[in-house]
């Protein structure tokens, strides 16, 4: 009898992450294009706020990170759902993997990609700034060129959260019915609760929001692994 191969889950996850991060990279290139389309081409004026004082009317076009973050977060959500679709799941079966290892690998890839997404976001932001600088030389105000670490963390955690929700949703759809239904209901309740209390959530300090987002992300990740562990392979 040939001796059996003993491979730990950790080794396999590491290998899967290595390959997935490389093979799914077109997701990142699409983020770049999305960022260029939305951040640079579409939002040419930024968000504006006007003040009128006597015969002086002042209009501020504010270029903040909002649009870049919204695009990145939605991108993460879509990419995460895509990672759980059939085409990607079937690819996993071609090498040593289990649903659990694939789910964990997807989570790591999502985290890595969220990080890169933040860097891409910043890059686009500065390119946008450069564009404004070259086009509107006179009325150019830099309030602060450096993005504060707390904002960066908030961006990362927001993108991560959307990715985590996407992974959880995508995995739930393929999971056993007994698990699928409560998870999706729970998720919908959570999203509606958040959107109702969005204003009070946004009043919190950046760091607290980040921590809440990261906590929910981790929760979603755990649920994702748990569901994946119970899921059968469906190749139809």
């Amino acid at each position: 009898m040939q001796s059996l191969t003993n491979i730990s889950l950790k080794t396999i996850v590491k290998k899967q992450v290595k390959w997935k991060a490389k093979l799914y990279i077109s997701a990142l290139s699409s983020l770049v294009i999305l960022q260029i389309i939305f951040g640079i081409l579409l939002s040419s004026s930024g968000s504006t706020s006007g003040y009128g004082r006597g015969n002086l009317s002042v209009q501020f076009s504010i270029y903040s990170l909002d649009m870049f973050l919204i695009v990145s977060a939605f991108w993460a959500f879509i990419v995460a759902i895509l990672f759980t679709t059939k085409a990607y799941r079937i690819d996993d079966l071609s090498v040593i993997s289990s649903r659990t290892s694939s789910a964990i690998a997807n989570i790591f890839v999502m985290i890595i990609y969220s990080f890169i997404a933040v860097v891409i976001m910043i890059s686009t932001f500065y390119l946008k700034v450069l564009e404004i600088l070259l086009v509107e030389k006179q009325s150019f105000i830099i309030e602060n060129l450096f993005i504060s670490p707390s904002i960066l963390l908030l961006c990362f955690s927001s993108i991560c959260l959307f990715g985590a929700i996407g992974l959880l949703l995508g995995t739930s759809f393929k999971g056993p019915t007994l698990i699928k239904v409560p998870i999706i209901v729970l998720l919908l309740i959570f999203i509606s609760l958040v959107s109702i209390n969005l204003n009070s959530l946004m009043m919190l300090p950046d760091l607290i929001i980040s921590v809440i987002y990261l906590f929910v992300s981790v929760l979603c990740f755990c649920l994702t692994i748990w569901i994946a562990d119970k899921s059968e392979v469906s190749r139809k």
Binding site: L4, T5, L23, A87, I96, S98, R99, D229, V233
Partner: protein, 297 residues
Amino acid sequence: MNIIQCEDLSKSFGRRNALQHVTCAIDAEKIIGIIGRNGAGKSTILNIIAGYIKPTSGSCKVFNENPFNNIQTAANMIFIDDRLSFSDYLSLEDILKFGADFYPNWQSELAYRMLDYAGLDLTAKHQQLSKGQLATFNLVYGLVSRCALTILDEPMNGMDEAIRTDFYRAILKEYLAFPRTILITSHHLQEMESILEEILLIDKGSIIAHAPLDEFKEQLISLSGPSDALADLLSETEVYAQTIVAGMTSAIVDTSKLFVSEDLLRSKGITLSHLTASEVCKYLTSKEGSDIDAIFD
């Protein structure tokens, strides 16, 4: 040593029972042909063994562990069928590197030589391959990974006649070089039977035969001779099929229930002939009175 042990295994998809109370044991390092008609339950049992799906009831042990979503099973098992797929971004050469990274027993050199022999372009993408080329590549992938349990589900589907023979030989030679358990399903039992050690015949979700190939073939025998000479004999044994033409009867009967010596039969003008494995399969799985001729009567 049993590599696979199924006990009272059942699986249903909704109302449809795909497997019903299957009990079987498969020894290590054997080439086993899994035969059955379409929808007999072959894929279901293979999917359970591979750990892809969960049995509804009963237990299945692979390498003494529950295979379902088990990384140890996955590490020692490879499942090759026509649904094997790889990322769009990988060329065949990349796929080989990909496999080599995962499977510890991977045979890189051999893979290159086999693909070269089959005339596959290493820079091609997996999706661009024709059906036959795809089957060839997948089979090579399955063989060079040298997993203790290699499941080949219709590995020759779509391959040219000429290359099929070559690749059955390739399976055998690879098996000789690195003995492992190989489960093969195929619609063409005839062309692969010589490399098989055992046959597992599945019909309507149950295993109806599991035996070494020769024993399996000897299970049934064909008798032909004058109808009157055969009549008595046939009433005592189990008859699987029977045709009567101009006073001559030929019948397929269960060998184990035939207690007459060959010499006696010969003296009565009855000739005995062996059946091929695929004929045995056909008769064992055909429904009572299900004869294509009956449709036209």
